[in-house]
């Protein structure tokens, strides 16, 4: 069992990451994808530095476990890269999210969309932290600080990663859900938890506030998108999320308020139809 196989695996992964084409007509999107690529390559440098450290240790009984671990790390990283660089979401979704950030005064947000199993917001640095949290550098390289330099580089140039559910890539009606995830980034950077003053002290408040904000921003389209999507996963209240029915109720209440304040510009028939639809969904699940 030799570390050569790990080096070969890392070399292949590096070549694969470099080879994935980034050929997009929109400059901001191309820059974002190239930056993601650059950060993933630095991430691979972190793993290479770990490998350098382990190979200097004498490990008669456990070298195979280390080799296996490092190979799986490289495989997983390559998989994550592909989720971003081979995401099938149309370029127009990038434009929508980019416009959303701009309108909120967040002009310089570089972000990428990624294909996964659910709508979710994270960042490249956060994923790296999930990977290496409390796994110290191997002893022989610990003092060199090289690993810390690479990690710091990723932290300083970090970008948000907005995941969408893979089956939804061609469903335009689900795109408003991307805005919910994008807003998590704004919520954190603008420290909007201060909005929670006077609100009930519940653990899922952030999710509820974000739903309200996106209803306010995107109007009935978000409420429709959310209600339609959540019917496929009608969840109860959890630590992080209000229940499915509560979220529909919140959207309904907020739309009612907007209607009363004459903030909804669509025809009244359209609004009534949507309102009836939301009420029907809410009522149906409330009973069950």
């Amino acid at each position: 069992m030799s570390f050569d196989v790990v080096i070969e695996s890392f070399t292949r992964t590096e070549a694969h990451i470099k080879e994935v084409p980034v050929d997009i007509p929109y400059r901001f999107q191309m820059q974002a994808l190239n930056r993601a690529k650059e950060l993933y390559l630095v991430w691979l440098d972190v793993y290479k530095a770990y490998a350098d450290g382990y190979r200097k240790e004498i490990l008669p009984r456990t070298k195979r476990h280390v080799v296996r671990m490092l190979n799986s790390f490289a495989d997983k990283l390559e998989g994550k890269v592909r989720e971003v660089l081979e995401a099938r979401m149309p370029n127009e979704a990038y434009i929508l999210v980019n416009e959303f950030f701009k309108q909120l005064g967040q002009k310089m947000v570089t972000f990428v969309l990624a294909e996964g199993t659910s709508f979710e917001q994270t960042s490249i640095f956060r994923l790296l932290s999930d990977s290496l949290s409390r796994i110290g550098a191997p002893r022989p390289v610990r003092a060199s600080g090289s690993i810390d330099i690479y990690i710091e580089k990723i932290r300083n140039r970090d970008i948000p990663v907005i995941y969408y559910e893979q089956g939804q890539y061609d469903n335009v009606l689900s795109w408003p859900l991307l805005l919910h995830e994008a807003f998590h980034h704004v919520f954190a950077t603008e420290r909007l938890d201060r909005l929670s003053k006077g609100c009930p002290k519940v653990s899922w408040l952030e999710e509820a506030l974000i739903d309200m904000y996106i209803v306010n921003y995107f109007g009935p389209a978000y409420a429709l998108s959310l209600a339609t999507y959540l019917q496929g996963c009608p969840h109860e209240t959890t630590f992080s999320h209000p229940s499915f029915t509560a979220r529909i109720f919140i959207a309904l209440q907020y739309l009612s308020r907007m209607k009363k304040d004459n903030k909804l510009l669509l025809s009244s028939n359209h609004i009534s139809d949507l309102y009836d639809y939301l009420l029907k969904v809410w009522d149906e699940y409330k009973k069950s």
Partner: protein
Amino acid sequence: MQTKNSFPLQNIIGRITHGLIGLDIFLKEKKTNTYLDDFLTLKEEEIKAALVSAYARTKLVPPAEIQLSEEQSATIKCVIRTQKMISNLDKVNSEKEIEASIEELGMKLDVIYQAMLSE
């Protein structure tokens, strides 16, 4: 295409592997080391959370609750047992006992790899 955030599971694999490295080095150097320290930071709740994918702070919907399999529960028990042994390494009678722990923990690591691959 990979579909979930499997890095928490990868992290568990990393810390268990550090436990194995640490024990291997202990047998040679007869003193504790930083790899063992990393392994000792691993908590039962963290392994459970990673196995049931309970990382959902910024997801649109919460994840479905998943029950741990018997194999996974046995793996967690093995980790805890090994950590207790490491905390009392001065009382361990023979190298064979440590070697047996390396063997058992190494085998249990397969269960975490399987969970990661099934994601």
